[in-house]
Amino acid sequence: MSTYDSTPDMNVKPVIENSNSVNNGRRDFFRTTAAGAFGAATVMGLVPKSISTQAYAAGSDAPEITEVKIGFIPLTDCAPIVVAAEMGFDKKYGIKITPSKEASWAAIRDKTVNGELHAAHVLYGLVYGVQLGIGGQQKDMAVLMTLNHNGQGITLANQLKDKGVKDGHSLKRLLDNENRDFTFAQTFPTGTHAMWLNYWLAANGINPVKDVKTIVVPPPQMVANMRIGNMDGYCVGEPWNARAIYDKVGYTVATSQDIWVDHPEKVLGTTAEFVAKNPNTSRAMIMAILDACRYIEATENRAKVAKLISGKAYVNAPEEVIAGRFIGDYDNGIGKKWKDPNFMKFFEDGKVNFPYLSDGMWFLTQHKRWGLLKADPDYLAVASKINQVKLYSEAASQLGISVPKDVMRTSKLMDGVVWDGKNPAAYAASFKIKA
């Protein structure tokens, strides 16, 4: 059976030019007619005041290019890109964002590297992997801002529930007692989900490299793969954990915020070359998307955003599957329901979006831990090069959003180990379970 049966839209080339499946008829009308046969006065009369009066002041800050194509993968956390484009936050800063739905992280990487995409909604670790040439060609990369914290998860197949697995410890017990290969899926070798899955397994005494088989499956195909018994568990972003419960094929054994409260997740990534050539456009993108993140963060806007991104052109999943966990209403599918205070966050007064160097460095420490890097890189130098702290700070300041003073932050992960970015090589070497 082909997994395409359940995700038919992944077969078509999914660039969104003019999506009618979402409620943007009015904006499309402006796009197609503003420069057309009708006078500008007629059209301007119809433009909402907020847009016409807040036109970006042209000058030395004028964006070098005004139309930017930003790639994304169908996941709940692509919301900032979609909202920035669909709700006109881009126009306020003199740019037009065209979201471009991509079929794989590899495609996101290649199209960003060769300039077909100007920027992308991308896995934090992937950007660092490209910078260090892991598994492909090396290219100097840039992280403009963090898009979100939290909101990923680990799902186990229902047959494990029947064997009494309800947490990491009982999974470890099953692995010890059952003599067969266990298979786990994640989304990209250097990506965030690979690191959350590895960290969680290892914290439960399971070596992800030696004790289980790991495969990669594209996010929208996870559920279909689990249904036909291709894997025992997977780690992916929402809504694909909620979807497994909805479809009755699996249950949530851990959320990513269980592993690390307020962990960094997706970033707005591009190449160093793009930033060097287009600093103003880069800043405008950060501002538009920061504005969108602030909008999404407000609880009263979340239902509307869930509806917007659920469309076929974007996440392509039932609105109800997205909406629950989007506001912290969790149900693990095996009888536990709770209100999670650490649900997917997009703003928190800019604390989510600041490109902390310690966040970027963490992924390098895990790449080293799991053997993707043979030797310790110069952690701080790499992170300082990739994370555009200065550009971000300029953009945030212009919006009156506070910027943290310290480029490092301190976090305690699920195993009690503290990460503060201070001694990355020692931290990477400190783990008992490693490749």
């Binding site: 082909s2 197609t32 007619t33 079929a103 598994g135 291709n230």
Partner: protein, 191 residues
Amino acid sequence: MLRVMIVDNDLERTKPLKQSLLDTGYEVVAHLKDTVNLDSACCEFRPDIVIIDTDSPSRDTLENICVMTMHDPRPIMMFTHDDDKEQMKLATKAGVCAYVVGSIPNERLRPVIDAAVARFEEFKDLRDALNEANTKLSERKVIERAKGLIMKQRNIDEDEAYTLLRNMAMQKHIRIGKLSEQIIEAAKLLL
């Protein structure tokens, strides 16, 4: 002999590629749809080259296999060799990408990639032609509707309405189809 695996959700599309590779003496070890079993297929068939659509979701699966075997004696490399960026660009443009196992000399690899690029381009041309035909067809429908609106509003006949449309399109330097679209959109608001 190089072992080639072709992965495409549209098997019809890559049939000619398979044939031409077979004709030129390559071994096509597998020709499969983007399936859930790509991982095990790679282990089973041990291809030297995997040809896949650039926009296939299954590419990430191959990426993982690349990275996981990166430090082995037989590394898998992305695309073609590093020194051949132009060819890589051509291939991606045509919508094809190749995952290559080991250090295969360029002169052996090139014909496979070239054949894939040629076949994918052929298909792209066909698809483009089809798209164009579809656009033209829908354009004609739009013009008919706009013409109808003008006839009704101005109480004129079909020829006159068309002449009006054509003249205005010429003045504005846009296609009649485009103008017709705008008229219909405006009519939705105004009428």
